[in-house]
Structure formats: C-alpha cells, structure tokens
Symmetry: C2
Subunit: 152 residues, 2 copies
Amino acid sequence: MSDRYFEDYVEGSTEELGSIKVSEDEILEFATKYDPQPFHVDPPAAAAGPYGGLIASGWHTASLMMKLVVRNYLSAASSLGSPGIDELRWLKPVRPGDELRARVQVLEARPSKSKPDRGLLRSLVELRNQDDETVFTAVALNFVLRRWATAT
Amino acid sequence: MSDRYFEDYVEGSTEELGSIKVSEDEILEFATKYDPQPFHVDPPAAAAGPYGGLIASGWHTASLMMKLVVRNYLSAASSLGSPGIDELRWLKPVRPGDELRARVQVLEARPSKSKPDRGLLRSLVELRNQDDETVFTAVALNFVLRRWATAT
C-alpha cells in the first residue's frame, strides 16, 4: 500500500481489507476513556441491560475499521485526510471475542476541480463478524493525491 | 444527567456540553492504535505534510465528542445506544493543545411506533475550538427510554 494514488482507485471495484479481533479488555479500555455507558464498561450492568452483555462502543468499532483502512486501503504516499462520513450505521452489536473483517467498495472517484493535484474518493466500508453478519457500514470521503502530483 | 428520559429532550432546544483539552500524547496514543497515518503519528513527517503539523485522528475527535455527550447529554438511566450517524464532518484540523467545547441541538424527538417504550433522538452535535472555529459536526441518532418505561 506504500505506493498507491488516486488513479489506482477504480469506481465500482471492491477489496477485502483483512480482519481484526476485539477483546473484552480493549472494549473496556476504549469505552472507559471515551464512551463510559454501562453496556460498554460494566459487565454485570451490561448483562442486565438492553444488549444482554457487554458491547463495544460504536466509536471503537469505527476506529477498528479505520485501522484496517489505513493498513490495506489508504496509502501514506497519497492520503490527504477526510472531510467526513456521509452515513454511518451500527447494525449489530460487537461483542468481546468477535472477529471483524472489512470490505470496501469504491463508489466514486472524482477529480477535484479546485485542487487539480488530488481527487475525492467516496467509499462504502463494511464490517462483518465471524457469523457473516454485517455489523457496521459507513460511506467515507477521502482526499487522495494524483500520481503526477507527488513529484512536486 | 442520571435521571433524564426521552420526554426531557425538547425539539429545537440547544445545550452546552462542556469542554475538553487535547494533548499531543493522547493524539499520538490514539492514532498509533487506530489511525497511524503520518500526519497523526509522526511529528516531523506531519510538519512537512499537508497540515503543516500533527493533527488528531478524526475518530479521536469523534470519540472526544462522545465523551462530552455521555457526560452531559445522555443518561445512563435511559440511553439505549445508537443506530448510527447521518452526517459527520471534520471541518478543521484538531491540533495538540486545542480545547474543544461541545454544543448540541435536538433536531427531532420521535416516539417509536414499533417499540412504545422508547423514542429516537436526532441531534446535531458541534465541536468548536478555543478560536471559536467549528471543527466537527455530526447528526447523531440515539434510542432513549420513555420515563414510564423505566418502571417495568
């Protein structure tokens, strides 16, 4: 992934981005810092709560998605950051021990008119768990350098 | 915030949710785990990169927003989790030393038809920095229990 540019993202193409396991320790650590709701940080309360057990903060799930996106989709040579996310959905709970694998589809690759050295990528990223249930989807926007621009 | 229910979120109302400081150490720690792009984890590379210095991962910024939302907007007594985010925008970089304050507006509070014990909240959450620049916005969805339902 070290050498990938805007021209290499083909509209309509899909890619697998690998998988990642989620541990109870990591769920507790993340949520204690950023999202300390009972069903994220307190196993007994979570067991008696709306999800019947501990679940990962949705922001933790999104961050795990990002880890796979940085590892296998974006390139340090061309990634210029993101203006945002168009739609993000937490479809199913993520629980301790789950293994999430990511898949991405390039929805749109549009050259920038105002900044000709880059383009804007719209990508649908999905996470599925070990039971093949889709737990998370997001339409991500990313600015990516064009190949010729890297010489400047 | 320990005793707040669906009925207490009034459409059109706005609230301040307090503020939080962002340190370089925390930016590096979060991004090293979840978003290790050069402008998030490598200060010299970041200084030479598109943002002219280190910036926080957008997922870190979102997680800091969530921290203030859990502290001052949602209630452990009634918060049932979230189906997603309708639109999220990273408008300005968040840099080490920034202080972010959150404000929220209740866009819509809609009783659920299929599950009468709860309602769906649509909220616009904004983060501003110490220079009063809006750095982040998101339209968040949250399921929240109705007051009468907590007796069951």
